[in-house]
């Protein structure tokens, strides 16, 4: 079991001389062997390869040439800086570059190119200097073991022991218990202060929020952009319209956004002969017009890709596919639940209105969601 033997193989190797400064570090650790493998070497270590001088080391002219290159690069930087300043003030805002695949504001491109080239020149010049002109003799530095010297460790333990002793804790233990307890309890005020970041999602809160949308009996279905109410005869067979509840119009700000993240619907008219309707949903539709939640039951993206021929609705985020002709069941993808269907009817004026709210919560799953009333993938109530 050579792997865990813990023996350190400091052995026949003679160490090369070191820089004086490096010796200091080493002396501190004298007598502490590095816990490393010194594996069997079938080929003896020849030592660091011979230093080969560069052209710039032996040829003065070459070194001078590199110096000129470096200095030239550094001296071009102020030029780019001036060009940057000029571009900032002088290039008109609305001027435009149209060059190959590049269509961009001329000011933006000019600022970027001058700054970029300037910064890059500093880097290139420094590299050239370091690579060609700075001494490149390889240096060997001895390593030290990761751990501290054994006596240092002991010393630290001693100091700790003495300190603990002098603090009086060994004799009066309540001191430290009460101190730690006092500091620890401060976590309570800190955590309590964070409580108000958001409401607690208890059952009542969930009922008012996750499980409620703006839909209720009699709310008109309106176009999501124009807010025009919709009559059945406005829809052709195969047509899908994005809709919202008419009362969304009354909201503003965060309330509007919150409602809009839950209430959007798709209104789709299909040939009644093509649709499978479960017995308990017979009166949820009007002449082949069905309404589903637009919010994906996976993670809540608005579903938007409608395949007229197959009656499939595809979510562009993760490709969950729902069959609108078959109660919105999942036919492909990572979503697990059918799209909730909104029961609708026609009101006295001939407009499409909701028969009730959504019978199940819309949108993504959450832990406390009672999903027993949903249509599962298999079509059975789960």
């Amino acid at each position: 079991m050579s792997t865990s033997s813990g023996t350190s193989g400091v052995g026949g190797e003679t160490h090369e001389e070191m820089n004086p400064e490096q010796q200091i570090a080493r002396e501190d650790y004298a007598g502490h062997d590095m816990p490393v493998h010194e594996p069997a070497h079938p080929v003896p270590d020849p030592g660091v390869e011979e230093h080969i001088p560069r052209l710039t080391d032996v040829d003065q002219a070459a070194a001078d040439r590199v110096e000129r290159q470096v200095v030239t690069m550094f001296m071009l930087v102020p030029v780019t800086a001036v060009l940057f300043v000029l571009s900032y003030y002088l290039i008109p805002r609305d001027s435009f570059v149209d060059f190959g695949p590049l269509h961009a504001s001329a000011k933006h491109v000019a600022l970027g190119l001058t700054l970029g080239i300037g910064v890059l020149l500093i880097g290139l010049a420094t590299q050239q200097w370091a690579r060609q002109l700075m001494a490149n003799n390889e240096i060997i530095e001895e390593r030290h073991p990761g751990h501290s010297p054994a006596d240092a460790n002991e010393e630290a333990m001693n100091q700790l022991t003495v300190g603990i002793d002098e603090s009086g804790v060994p004799r009066r233990k309540m001191l430290i218990y009460s101190a730690l307890g006092a500091i620890g309890i401060l976590a309570a005020p800190a955590l309590v202060l964070l409580t108000d970041l958001g409401p607690v999602a208890g059952p009542n809160y969930r009922r008012r929020t996750f499980e409620t949308t703006l839909w209720k009996e009699g709310v008109r279905l309106v176009n999501d952009i124009t807010y025009t109410p919709i009559r059945p005869e406005d829809l052709e067979i195969g047509q899908l319209v994005n809709g919202v509840p008419e009362n969304l119009k009354d909201l503003t700000g965060a309330a509007f956004n919150d409602a809009k993240a839950k209430a959007p619907i798709v209104i789709v008219r299909m040939n009644p002969a093509d649709i499978k309707i479960p017995a308990d949903r017979k009166d949820w539709q009007v002449a082949g017009i069905l309404v589903y939640s637009k919010i994906c039951t996976h993670v809540g993206c608005p579903i938007s890709l409608w395949e007229q021929q197959t009656h499939h609705l595809l979510c562009p985020c993760h490709q969950s596919t729902f069959d609108l002709a078959d109660s919105g069941k999942v036919v492909f993808g990572p979503a697990a639940r059918a799209l909730p269907q909104l029961p609708i009817k026609i009101n006295d004026e001939g407009f499409l209105v909701a028969r009730s709210g959504f019978p199940v919560p819309v949108g993504p799953s959450y832990f406390e969601r009672d999903s027993r009333k949903d249509l599962g993938q298999s079509g059975e109530y789960r």
Partner: protein, 587 residues
Amino acid sequence: MAKPAKTATEAPQRPEQPDRQLGPVMKFFSGPAKWADDRTGIGGIMSGRIPNIFNLRKVFPDHWSFMLGEIALYSFIVLLLTGVFLTLWFKPSMGEIEYNGSYQLLRGLPMSEAYASTLNISFDVRGGLLIRQIHHWAALLFVAAMLTHSMRIFFTGGFRKPREINWVIGATLLFLGMTEGFLGYSIPDDLLSGVGVRIIFGAVLSIPLVGTYLFTWFLGGEYPGDLLVPRMYMLHILLIPAVILALVGVHLILIFYHKHTQFPGPGRTEKNVVGYPFFPVYTAKAGGFFFIVFGVIVLMAAVIQINPIWTYGPYNPAEVSAGSQPDWYIGYLEGALRLMPNWEWHIGATTWSWNIFIPAILGFVALPGAIGIYPFLEKWVTGDDLEHHVLDRPRNAPNRTAIGVSAITVYVVLMIAGANDIVATHFHISLNSITLVLRWGIFILPIITFMITKRICIGLQRTAYDRVLHGSESGVIHRSPSGGYSEPHTPITQGEAFAITQHHEYQPITPGPVTDANGVARKGTTKERARRPFTRWYFGHNVAKPTAAEIEEAAHHHGGHEAEGNGQEAIESGERADEQVGAGHSD
């Protein structure tokens, strides 16, 4: 043949003689230097008098792959610089206003102040678009550099003792970097980022037991509410960067303390580090490299558009654009979400969304988690408690290398899955078939790449040992009077032979006696038994490196029989690896 180390003796002879005259610059600074040293003792730190932490002439080895971490560091600095500029203009508010800026197509539209101010930065603040694009490109580069940096360390075994802490810090930084990037991508409140936020909060909801509570707590109510952008902004510009900065500091201090690892080579041992001094060579090289990284990012920002938020419009919870893609480092999570089958449990009045929780939440934690835990798993198998400063050549740790490659395979499969709609439309393949194929591929492909990689590593070991024994091919074909053909081999340098044979050879644990000499049950045998199959699997296939005797013998052999045809020299690839490599060559 490399010569014995002359440079080692050269080094102390180089400039730092104590009686050297100070130059004019040093003379000028000697006053202020004394002032500072009297108050801080800075001279002791710079000269290395306080052992092992720092000295100006600290030696760093040279290798291109050691720059990957530097790229990460420098792009982080660029992020800090440009981020400060952006905070001067960005308004982290979801308050609704009507846009009246200079981008005609969105004028008069209601939108959040966050989005409007991002448009303002892009169109009305001079140089604002440049800084925004530098910031975004630097963010993409930051995560990419961290990931490739970690790959370099993984494949060369740089995470082994004493560097495990730094490795775990690195994995944490990767996690924080991805989070930070996602937050930054989200706060402009455009349509694209809004959809990303919607997905993430859908994922939060899927966390069993606490998801719903976390959701309302962080959002301050329902999604999206009006607190999300300011809260993400605080995390993005204050909390997470501060943690990253602190961890980067510790990371660098530990690098200085451990001294840098080095690749095997002549004169390189576990007890030294061979390279160039921090000052002036690496001050110039690393400092210069900062400007190169910065300059390249600026040039990219100047001519390559990134995240044109104005084309998507303001966020609207009822809209989404097809073909939306997150920033690249979130791609694997997106892919995991798309690949996952729709498993959901409905138990009583509860819903367990494994279809979301596993890919999005566990997947997010799994990447840095798996990276972070690896050194400890490997250590358990190897039982290796010694320090390692000479890096492994990836071939010499075939199983580790193969594990790394199969992990990358999983990552790439998820990335492709994350773009399955793009793949489908560009290559005219059915989206459903791509998803189904990748669902199987994520299990099958890593196994295949594992086996291939391991075989390649073992093959490379053989080739390397062949070089030690027989030298390199000379390219000259000799025909003997009897009509046989042979190729004389040129011996390789001692330096190369040393580098090839320098590593430690691990052996599988052989079962020890259950009882000790006195017949008393030995301690730890149960543990050892548990480890045994793993060590057999981990080391059992390694090719034994040639012994000194074999090398000697091979040298004689080549001296005498060079002209003879020795076509049987090739070692069959299917051969059992535990056979001696030397057995393959002809007699």
